[in-house]
């Protein structure tokens, strides 16, 4: 065997190129292990069907009428729930020897995390598309048209990517993927359900209503409904954007700090 070494030393990939290379890695993993998409497909399908047919008649008198109310909420809910898997996957990934190698490479250190997040955004889009596709098939008609639907999806995915940082932080801090999963859902369930996703908070007891009104999830759902109905106002959209900004401001630096310490 001759000349297995090459003495050229190209300049290592910059932060953007490195993050994109890691995003490509996420895509390749999806290609080779498509089972990973189970939750991303399962959660939106189950939630859309289950809540429409289970609660539709009981809560709104008719399935069709309830769908008009519910679908934007389901969109937000399904995508937000899927975000937990960002932390779960990262935690599992960190335990592999491959991550050791990545961290010993001369590239921007957070690149593997950012790259994985870029890949996750693809999954959030897929989850969103499933909810919308199913909704349309079941008879949902957005008054805001295609533009409204796209804007709503963009807002939800943006919020979800910001929320991902919280789970990534958990993924770095906790010991096992299952710990991240249970912590994530224990935190998320009250946040998502004590909100205006399924019912009008007007029907809730006073204190619960107060919680629901303050809940960022409610603001996200309100904005999503308004965008899809074509009636959104600037404050409605700014609320969830501000919440997303706050999440990133807190958790992105925390993530980087934890990651450097590892």
């Amino acid at each position: 065997m001759t000349a297995i070494s090459r003495h050229e030393r190209p300049a290592p990939a910059g932060p953007v190129a490195a993050s994109l290379a890691f995003a490509w890695r996420s895509l390749l993993k999806l290609k080779h292990v498509p089972e990973q998409l189970g939750d991303v497909i399962g959660i939106p399908v189950v939630f859309t069907l289950l809540f429409t047919y289970l609660f539709g008649r009981a809560l709104a008198g008719s399935t069709h009428g309830y769908l008009q109310f519910l679908l934007p909420g389901t969109l937000a809910l399904a995508v937000v729930l899927v975000t937990v898997y960002s932390g779960v996957t990262l935690n599992a990934d960190l335990a592999t020897g491959a991550f050791d190698r990545f961290r010993s490479l001369p590239v921007w250190r957070p690149a593997p995390i950012l790259g994985a997040l870029i890949g996750d955004i693809g999954r959030y889009l897929l989850a969103g598309a499933i909810v919308i596709g199913l909704g349309l098939a079941m008879g949902y008609r957005p008054a805001g048209g295609a533009a409204g639907v796209i804007a709503a999806t963009a807002l939800v995915v943006l919020f979800a990517s910001a929320l991902s940082w919280a789970w990534i932080t958990l993924g770095l801090a906790l010991r096992s993927p299952s710990a991240v999963m249970s912590a994530g859902f224990v935190i998320l369930f009250p946040i998502t359900f004590v909100s205006n996703v399924f019912t009008d908070p007007a029907t809730m007891p006073g204190w619960l209503r107060g919680v629901s009104d303050a809940n960022p999830m409610s603001h996200l759902v309100t904005a999503t409904r308004a965008l899809m109905a074509g009636t959104a106002t600037a404050p409605q959209v700014l609320w969830p954007l501000a919440a997303a900004g706050a999440l990133i401001t807190v958790f992105a630096p925390l993530t980087v700090l934890l990651y450097q310490r590892k």
Binding site: I4, R6, H32, T96, G97, R101, L105
Partner: protein
Amino acid sequence: MITATPSIIGDLAVETDGLVKTFGATRAVDGVNLAIPRGSVYGVLGPNGAGKTTTIRILATLLRPDGGSARVLGHDVVREAAAVRRLVSLTGQFASVDADLTAEENLLLLGRLLGYSRRRARQRAGELLAAFGLTSAARHQAARLSGGMRRKLDLAASIIVAPDLLFLDEPTTGLDPGSRGALWEIVRDIVADGTTVLLTTQYLDEADKLADRIAIIDHGKVIAAGTRGELKGSAGSAGLRIRLLDPADRNRARELIADRQIIASDEPDPAVISARIPVQQRAGAPGQIAARALARLAGAGIGVSDFALGQPSLDEVFLALTGSHPAQAQPGQAQPGQAEPAPAQEAAR
């Protein structure tokens, strides 16, 4: 082969001073001092839990030391971690390739990260797959490769851009003898191309065959370091084998040879006596002691057809210093007389 201890810092690939890393109550690395010259294979030998992996992870900037300092190729591993990462490459103890990706995709990903264009990365991946005999497995997921193939892929991934210093953490653990030999060949080629290799192993023969200099670590400390020859001269015992002209002389000869420094015993062959001469003693080097014993035989008129004096095996040195068996040693290999640990030799540096 480097025999003199280099004194200029620039000549050292790795230099650590009192390196410490603790995990809770465990002192995984407890004051490790190493001076590793450039341009050779340096073996770090130690039993399970000795702190080999932890030391390598500190040197590869994956862990921060809790105490002491380490310089790799002239750069401090904490303050100049980025500079270190540009020059080193790591093949971890547990496969550091991405099991979900194919062999080729693994190399492409790393090639891109290391700054190759898409086209060059593909070329380089093809070149390495061919050189490591992995071309037919290029499109197989790494998880489906055999242990030996995955190790080779791991090594290929480490030299996409030839590093100045390559860390190999137990590169051949679990491989069959054929694959181990193949991997050793590759490591020799990489060294011939100018890369310094720091290798950890539990296999003494691996250190013996591959490493120019060796450090033995145990309980987080370097308990001996030096060239193979220096280590073998520091502990254990030399073996003397004497074949007599006349087997009838054997009993007399054995009594003449045995003395305070020599333990003599019979071999299955009726004309052969074997003797163990501990290397560490006042009476002189094993060679001198053996010469005196042979002179006693000549003086008594006992004819010797041939004799051989061997250095202690690295196995024995290891046993004498750590008091435990290395991974691969068979129980029968140990000499009962050497079972008690000798005082630790601080031959380091």
